[in-house]
Symmetry: C2
Subunit: 425 residues, 2 copies
Amino acid sequence: MSARRRELAVALVATGDELVEGRHVDTNSAEIARELLAVGFEPRRFTVLGDDEDGLVHALLELAAGHGAIVITGGLGPTLDDVTRHAVARAAGVALARDEGVLAGLRERFARRGRPFAEANTRQALFPAGAEVLPNANGTAAGFAIPVAGALVVALPGPPREMRPMLAELVVPRLVARVADLPCVERRAFHLFGLPESAFADAAGAWMERGANPLVGVTASGGRLSVTLRAEAATRAAARELADARAAEVRARFASWIFSEDEPDLAAVLGRELIARGVSVTLAESCTGGLAAERLTRVPGISAVFGTGFVTYADEAKTRLLGVEPALLAAHGAVSAPVAAAMARGAARHCGARLAVAITGIAGPGGGSPEKPVGLVHFGVSVDGVVSTEERRFLDLGRDLVRDFAASTAFDLLRKALCGLAPAR
Amino acid sequence: MSARRRELAVALVATGDELVEGRHVDTNSAEIARELLAVGFEPRRFTVLGDDEDGLVHALLELAAGHGAIVITGGLGPTLDDVTRHAVARAAGVALARDEGVLAGLRERFARRGRPFAEANTRQALFPAGAEVLPNANGTAAGFAIPVAGALVVALPGPPREMRPMLAELVVPRLVARVADLPCVERRAFHLFGLPESAFADAAGAWMERGANPLVGVTASGGRLSVTLRAEAATRAAARELADARAAEVRARFASWIFSEDEPDLAAVLGRELIARGVSVTLAESCTGGLAAERLTRVPGISAVFGTGFVTYADEAKTRLLGVEPALLAAHGAVSAPVAAAMARGAARHCGARLAVAITGIAGPGGGSPEKPVGLVHFGVSVDGVVSTEERRFLDLGRDLVRDFAASTAFDLLRKALCGLAPAR
C-alpha cells in the first residue's frame, strides 16, 4: 500500500457486548463513514468488538498498519466493562493519566444535578498519557485523540447525540488538518421518487461505471432513490466544475423524479412546502392505518396546515367519517378508484382542506385475489375540490413495505398536485 | 487462545461498498450473531469491507487464526464487484470451479421468467473448488461453505430475506454438527415496559454480574426493556434448570412490568390480545399524529377490532370529530387531563368501541412552557364508558422519541385496561 493511500484510509471501530451479541446494531460507523467520505477520506473497514480489552489492543495495532486514522466509538463510560481508554493506552505504549480539568468538570456536573459523585466516575477522567482530550458537551464521557503506530486514533462516546457534534466540530477538522493535500472532493445529491433502481441505471448508462469521475452511488429504499455524485480533482474549482456539469445532466435527465437535492425525506419536503405556501391538507387512510399522518406530523410546524387525519380502516368508518356511500362500497369494494375518490372528497369537505389524499389498498399478508392482489393500492387526490385517482400495483414485499410505498406515493401525488396549485387564496 | 475457545468463536463479515461508505447499515451480522449466540457459539468480531477482493482475502486469513467459523454476507451477485467467491477461493488456496447443477438451475430460473440468460450470470455458478454448495430458495445467489486455514468459511447472499432461511436451515445445523460438545445453552427472554434500565439494574442486583450464570443482558429502547437470560451447563437438563430457576425469580420480581416473554413489540402483544378477546378499540391522537394507529395496524388481522382512528392535531379537529367542548379547551388547554378524558370519551362514543385511548402532549421541539414542558403528555382511557386519565413527563430527548414513548405508554395503558376487563359482551 502506498503511503498516500494509507494516509487517506480510515478504519472505524465500534465496541460493546450489546453490538457483538446482536442486541444493538452499530449505526455510528456508517454515519462517520459518510461524513469522512464527504471530505475526501476513504473509509475502508469497520470492526465491531465486544467489551474486550485484549481484542481491541490487537485490532488497533493491526488496523494502524493500513490506515491513517482510526475512529472508535463506545467504551468510554465509568464502569469496568468500558475498556477503550485502557486498550488505546496499551496500543500506544503509554500509561493512563488523570486529567484534573476533566475531573473537576465531572464533579461540578454531578453537583449541579444534585447527584453524589461516585468514585467509579473518576475513571472518566483517565486518558492515555499525551492524548489530546476532546470535550463532550452532551455527556460525561470525554473523547480523546492520540497517535498509535503512525495512525491517529480517535475515541468518541457511543451515544449518537453525544458522538455526532464531537465528530463534526472536533474530529473532522483535526483529520482534515492532518493530511497536507487532501484530494478536492465535491459531492452532490439527488433524491428521487418512483423510478426503479434498474431503470435509473439503464438511463444513467456510462455515468455508473466504477472508475467514473464523478463517481455515482445509488441507494434504493421504499421507492425512493438517493443518488450521490462524488467528483475528485486536484483543485477545488476543478472538482466543483466536474460535479456541477454532471449535476446539470442529472437534473435534465431525471427532472420528473427528483423531489429534492438536500432532503432525503419526502414527507419533510412536502410538509415544508405546504407550510411555506400555506396550503392546508388532510389525509384519509385505510391500508396505511395512520402511517402517512405519522410521517407528516414528524415535520415541526406542520400544525399550521394539517389539523385532522382520518384512519378509516373499516368500511363503516369510511361511511361514517367520510360520507362514502355504502352502495359505492358494495358495488366496487373498498379497494377501488371510486371509493378512493369518495374518501378524498369526503375528507377535504369534512375539514375544508385545499388538498386531500386518500389511500385504500391491500397491504397483505391476506386479503388478495387474482383481480385485486396484495400490493394493489388506489389513491384519491382532491385539489381545491377537483378529485382525481391513481392506481399502483406494488410488489408484494410484505405488509410493512407495501404500506411504506403507499404512504410515499401519496406524498409524491400531493407534491405534484402542489406544484400545479395556484397561490394561496 | 485455547483451541476450545477458538472453536466456539465466530467472526462475521459483511461486504459491499454501500456498507463501508455508510449508505446502508449492516444488520445481517447482528442477526446472525443472535442466532449463533442462541445455540452456544460466541460471536467475537464483525468486519465490514467494501467490494475489495484483496482486503477480503487478507481479512479472512487474519480472522481464521482466531475463530472456528467465519460467516460472510454479500458479494455473491453476478457483477464484477461481487468478489466474495474469488476472495474465498484465494484464501483457501483453491481455484474456482463451475457447478453444472447450479448453472442448469439458473438457466431454468431465467427461462421460467422469460428473461434472457446473460453470460454474466454464469458467474453465479462458480464456487471455490471443494466447497459445499448451499442452495438459495429465494434468489439466484447460492452460498457455499469451505474450510480456510482450519476455520469453516460460510458465504451467504446479502439480502436478508434470502440469507435468513439459509442461515437457519443450512448453516446453523452445519456449525453445530462441527463442534463435538457445544456447551448446552438455554435462553429466556422478558419484555418489560415502563421500568428505567437503571431501576432494573438496581433491582436485579447480583444477577447482573458479568460472570453470572445465567448471564443477564438488558437492552433499552423507547421505554421498553428486553432482558435475556443465557444459562450454560454441561447438560441440556442442567442448563434448563438454571434458566428456569432464574426466570421464575425474574417473573416474581418484575411481574408488573413484563408484557411478554416472546414478543418484543408491545403493539403486537396488545393487538393479538384484543383480537383474541374480541375487544374493540379506537385511538384519538394529537401529539403522536397517527403513530399509535400506524403501529397497531401493523398487526395482521387487527381490522376485526380496530376500525377507526382519529388524528386530531388541531383544537378545532378535537371539537369537530370528538366533541371536545371549546370551553374545555380554552379553560385547560389542549394538553390537559380534562381534554384527554373528553377526547377518549368522544372517540369511544363516536365508534362504539369498548376501549379508547387519547394522547395529547407536547412533543417539541417548540411549544413547551415551565408549567407544560416538552415531554408532558396526558392520556385518557375509556373502558366500557368509564374514563380515567394518566399524566407522564418524558425526558425531552427529541420529538420522535417523545412520540415513541407516548404511543408505547398508550398501548401499555390499554394492555392493563384489557387485563381488568370483563369477557366480551
